[in-house]
Structures are given as C-alpha cells and as structure tokens.
Symmetry: C2
Subunit: 197 residues, 2 copies
C-alpha cells in the first residue's frame, strides 16, 4: 500500500504562500533550471535543476491520487479540468462542486479528510496519495492519517503569509531524519511521520 | 574578516523553544551520539553523530566571539561565567550587569546590536561572530548586519513556542542555497544571506 504524503514548497520561516495566497517566491525552483519535466497538461512543463528533476520525476511516478482542499481547487479553477499530475483528484469540501463542473472520474468531491483518504487510497492502489493543501495536511496529521511530510524548503524568509503547520491539535509531532536532495533554489526534505507508540 | 552568523536549533515549523523557553525537544542531537566534542567548560561535553561532531568542531574552531541577548544571559545565569565556546561574549542589554558579576574581558555589555557587532568583530578578528539569540539575530538581519543563517533543523513539529524569524522589518529576505550536513536527529543547513543589490 502506498503512503499518504503531504507535500508543499515552504519558506525557511514556515510559509507556503504570501498574505495574498501568492506563491511566486516559493516556486521559482520549478521553472529556473535546464531540465524539462513534462506533466499531464500542455500548460505546465517544469524546467528544473537535474537534482530537482530527478526528485520530481520520482515523485510523479509514485503518486496515484491527489487530495486538495476546496480553497486550492477554487483558486486554481480546478486546474482547468486536468491536474498536471494526471491522477484522480479528491477535493475536500462542504459545498457542492461548481454547477458547470463536468462529471468525470477524475474529480471526486467528499465531505471530510477521512473519506478523502479512503477515496484517494482506493484510487491510488499501490501508489502514494499526495496532499496538496496545507489545511487538509494538518487535519490528516491530527487524525493520524499522514505517513510522510515532504518539504521543498526554499531559501527565503517571507516574514508573513500562510503557515503550513499552524494550529496543530496534537504536538509535538516527531519525524524521522529526512531524505535530502539538494536542488537549485530549493532543498528537498522527505520526512516520515513517527507514529506515537 | 569573519562573518556574522546567526545559529539556532529550530523545529521544522520554525520554533526555537517551547512556550516555556524549554529546548529539550530541539537539542537532543547534541547529546545522543557516540562522538565526544569537548567544550571550554567541564559541565558541557557534547556527544554527537560523526557528521554533527565534524560540523560542530568546524563551527567551534571558526568562532571568535559570541553575541547574546540579555534574556539568554539571564536564563543561563551567564553560563556560570564561562560560555562553552570559550570566546568573548557580547551581551546586548539596556540594563546593568548583575551587581555581583565579575569584571572580566570575557563579557562585555552593550546597548544595541550595532555596537554589539562592532565589539564582537573587534574581538573575533578573522574569525566569525556567532549570534545565539533569536531576537538579536532578527535585529541584525533587519539592520543588514547578518552574513549567514545556520539552522540546525530538527525533525519535529512543536506547534507552538518561540519563533525564530517573527516580526521581520524587511522581508522577503533572500538566502543562498545551503551547505547541507546530515546528522542524526538534525539536518544542518548553512545559508548565506543575499544582500539586496
């Protein structure tokens, strides 16, 4: 069975977006290198350092489903209907999908994180479930549903914005030592969550 | 000339102490390994992983003076008169030293961070000045006096406590890609501060 992994680009001071939800300061490493990493959509091709490209290709090959929050779904307008990862998307929301949203197997709308993880695991099979929203990741962590935290740590201090790990219900949360991959403009840190014994 | 470097152990979510100023969750890597790293005082001998021991010995060999805030000086009771690094200490404070504090060349009490950096640089010569207090490090960063930020990143989420990089006056602050050393229970990340051009 695959793992449930939260993955975000984060500033050294813990922010995943600026106060206006902007991410320009945090995603430069995805577009500033020489190695092309194609995605499932034409509008998104990454250009990365060789190290980040290897990391991203491995991550993309390992992912079987994605969980996102409704906020991320809304601000990306549902990625135009196809997420760059090209995998089933489970959106956690208390509201109905947009009225004109096409009914496909690619997007499932569920009411809570437990159902989201169940649904995404079933879709992912042996591959990993990746969580792409900070709030959902926190809720999964609180519910003991998270196996890994993969941080793309960006060498910048933002000073203000949206924090990834605010308002943890159960702390401290122990992690294992990370697998480290050094990119350009990013340090990839892959941590396992240590379950309380 | 040496560099002015801020160095702290920090949780992945950006805390350098728990809400009660406790640091037990963050300094385990200094005492859980097999390699002894002696200090200038008998009451402090580190026991680290081989990688952390090499990192610490290099850091200790490179430091020529230390800047601390009054809060750190007070809660450590002035390290009993001798800091483990065995170098001159510059304490930033608006108050008088403790009445019974011995007058030695080891401790200098100054009123602001500019004077602290001047004094510490003069004492350090060609070696580095290390800043051991979060608030002083932030003030130096704001004043453009900081050359490096060395983070001993600990694989834990504390959820609450004292943040290192709160209330930055000038953000974003760009850093270079870090030198990475992988220890046990810690990832050492040595960043240079990129000065605005």
């Amino acid at each position: 069975m695959g793992k449930v992994i939260a993955n975000m680009s984060m500033s050294l001071d813990g922010f995943i977006a600026d106060p206006a939800d902007g991410i320009d300061q945090l995603f430069g490493w995805m577009g500033s290198g020489d190695v092309e990493v194609p995605t499932a959509v034409e509008w998104a091709t990454f250009r990365m350092s060789p190290a980040s490209a290897r990391y991203m290709r491995d991550a993309m090959a390992g992912v079987g489903a994605l969980i996102a929050g409704r906020h991320l779904f809304d601000i990306t307008q549902g990625w135009g209907g196809t997420h760059p990862l090209g995998v089933p998307i489970v959106v956690v929301t208390h509201r109905e999908p947009p009225a004109d949203w096409p009914h496909t197997d690619t997007f499932t709308f569920v009411g809570d994180v437990e159902e989201a993880v169940r649904t995404a695991r079933a879709a992912a099979g042996d591959r990993n479930v990746v969580i792409a929203s900070a709030k959902i990741a926190r809720q999964c962590l609180d519910a003991g549903l998270l196996d890994g935290i993969h941080v793309d740590l960006v060498p910048v201090l933002l000073g203000e914005g949206v924090r990834w790990f605010d308002d943890l219900a159960k702390a401290p949360v122990r992690l294992g030592d990370p697998v480290v991959i050094e990119g350009d403009g990013v340090t990839h840190l892959a941590y396992d969550v240590v379950r309380p014994s």
